[in-house]
Symmetry: C2
């Protein structure tokens, strides 16, 4: 078990149960809400209930998937918390992936002006990314995470045990953010990741800790995303647009899959604008293409993708804001470029 | 002009325009949203636009009244902010009473995880109460302020000019919270208030500042309502229930009118439980009855009122939580009592 201390909470990585039980015993919450979806109710909840001794837990089931990360779902969660008489001394446990962590955290942070919550992320993506950093919220008007707030959980419990049953695409999705962390701030981990050939045969504990350390360093330096935290948005300007656009299609991308596409496009922009060497651009493209199915972005969607990028939260004064790389392991924030070059980067991905 | 400095923002009381213009000039916001309702659009907005030099303000109009302080109204506000392309460098000005301040503040605090907002409260109630202390939110499932959060505005601008056109009932509503501040923490102001015979002939500036100082002392000692801040809930356990119950009737109470009823009931409980002298109970009852129309609470509503009290946010472990008085000017928090005594206090109010 490895403990990573942040300023006002800790992340426990490994076999989490002793620490989780110690946490619950110390805090003496009046009632405990557990938010699950269909998958985590079946795959994870039995172990949680078995390994802990939670008295009369209140189970709130939400629908899984990004399309259900909405104010409508929040209404349901708030209503059930209210009907169950949860008071300010209650705890909310978010047992699931990023949708449950972000949305359950948002509901807890706003229920009666805020009750405590902890994150038990059960997907690789949420373990390495959304469970830390305090970003909570839901999608609104087709824009990802556009209603929300910053608030840290009381603790995060990351157990790789959940990953054993995780579908391959879910692993690949989380791996996208791990790649990103290495690209923006840890060239040493990039070299190690480059050796990985099969995501099903990875010792995730040893990968998770350095990746979480990148995120810790960055979010602690800038908790509210005023400046350096924007480094974490590498791949996300294009990636979010691709993800949002595909959300309503038959084959939506998982978050990290969309970010993988975004990283190729934004590495291309980095080569054009911020001096990323062409050899490194090629390494990035080849490595991502090795692990992710080759997708094709339809040309007739490009104008709408650009439109979605113009609505990105990170923008200021109507300019599309990018994080780019100067080299592998070094990011530079607040970059802009013209729409033609963005279109070129989408073409680069396709070809 | 009087400036009250809190830890991370200031309240300006008096002629606000120089300070407001200085604030806007210094901050250089990308766009400015002004949230209004029908009344403030007509009564207050022209003066705001005339006295400032806001470039292309984005006007968002919400429906007035507590019934519209809802997630549904938030959806509309968030949507308009999104459609107008407001970025994180935007400012939201809440021009109105408590509904606009609480709800507009909540929308700003959660739009793209939080944009700056300032409060320009235009009713006596919002000037003396809701505009400071950082409580934001909306009503949910018939429970007041049950979805929200704590976040301070960047500044509060309180100008008594708005009170000249305020209807008498609105003055009386705000006066309820002013009475409360004196009862819980300022016996000297209670004596001064006791001399007031006509709310239409009051110099509000001289009353507002000491009343705001009570609230400042309390919210700074306990920003998140963990302990002493609960003193501000005197009158509110019964008052909120009375207000919620009447919300859907033909004649809803204004907030301070309901709190006035609640203060009589909770002063009665204080006399029974925490030693408030009977003579002071009588003074409180007589003074409140002098300024507020004598109302009658229907006996058949009492069980539902108790039910609503059991859902109050302040409760812990299912017990109805009260703030009571030990004497005029001194409050004691976290008091409980049995339902029979609460019923007795409602009878006391009626008789």
């Amino acid at each position: 078990m490895r403990k990573i201390d942040l300023k006002d909470y800790s992340i426990f990585v490994g076999d989490i149960w002793n620490d989780l039980n110690a946490f619950l015993k110390e805090k003496k919450y009046s009632r405990i809400v557990i938010i699950v979806d269909k998958n985590t109710k079946k795959q994870c909840l039995p172990k949680l209930l078995d390994k802990t001794n939670i008295d009369k837990p209140i189970l709130i089931k939400t629908k899984s998937g990004e399309l259900n990360k909405s104010i409508k779902s929040c209404n349901k969660i708030w209503k059930e918390m209210m009907d169950e008489g949860i008071d300010r001394n209650g705890l909310c446990i978010n047992l699931g992936g990023g949708v449950i962590g972000d949305m359950g955290g948002f509901c807890a942070a706003t229920f009666k002006r805020g009750i405590d919550f902890i994150q038990i992320p059960t997907t690789l993506l949420s373990q390495v990314d959304s469970s830390i950093g305090g970003k909570l919220g839901v999608d609104f008007a087709d824009v990802k995470n556009s209603v929300g707030l910053f608030k840290n959980p009381k603790a995060v419990f990351i157990d790789p045990c959940w990953l054993e049953s995780l579908p391959y695409r879910q692993l690949r999705s989380g791996f996208g953010e791990i790649i990103k962390h290495s690209l923006i701030d840890d060239s040493k981990q990039w070299k190690e990741l480059s050796q990985i050939k099969d995501l099903k045969k990875v010792d995730w504990s040893s990968i998770l800790v350095p990746s979480l350390m990148v995120k810790k360093r960055i979010v602690e330096a800038d908790p509210f995303e005023d400046n350096v935290r924007k480094a974490l948005n590498f791949g996300h300007t294009v990636g979010h647009a691709v993800e949002s656009h595909a959300l309503h299609s038959d084959q939506p991308y998982l978050h990290g899959e969309a970010i993988a596409i975004g990283m190729i496009c934004e590495a291309y922009l980095s080569a054009k604008i911020t001096g990323l060497p062409d050899s490194e651009l090629k390494n990035i493209k080849d490595f991502i293409n090795f692990h992710y199915d080759k997708n094709h972005l339809k040309e007739d969607s490009f104008p709408f993708l650009i439109h979605l990028m113009t609505k990105d939260k990170k923008n200021e004064r109507s300019e599309i804001n990018f994080t780019m790389l100067t080299e592998i392991g070094k990011a530079t924030i607040n970059q802009t470029c013209n729409h033609d070059l963005i279109l070129e980067s989408l073409d680069y991905f396709n070809n």
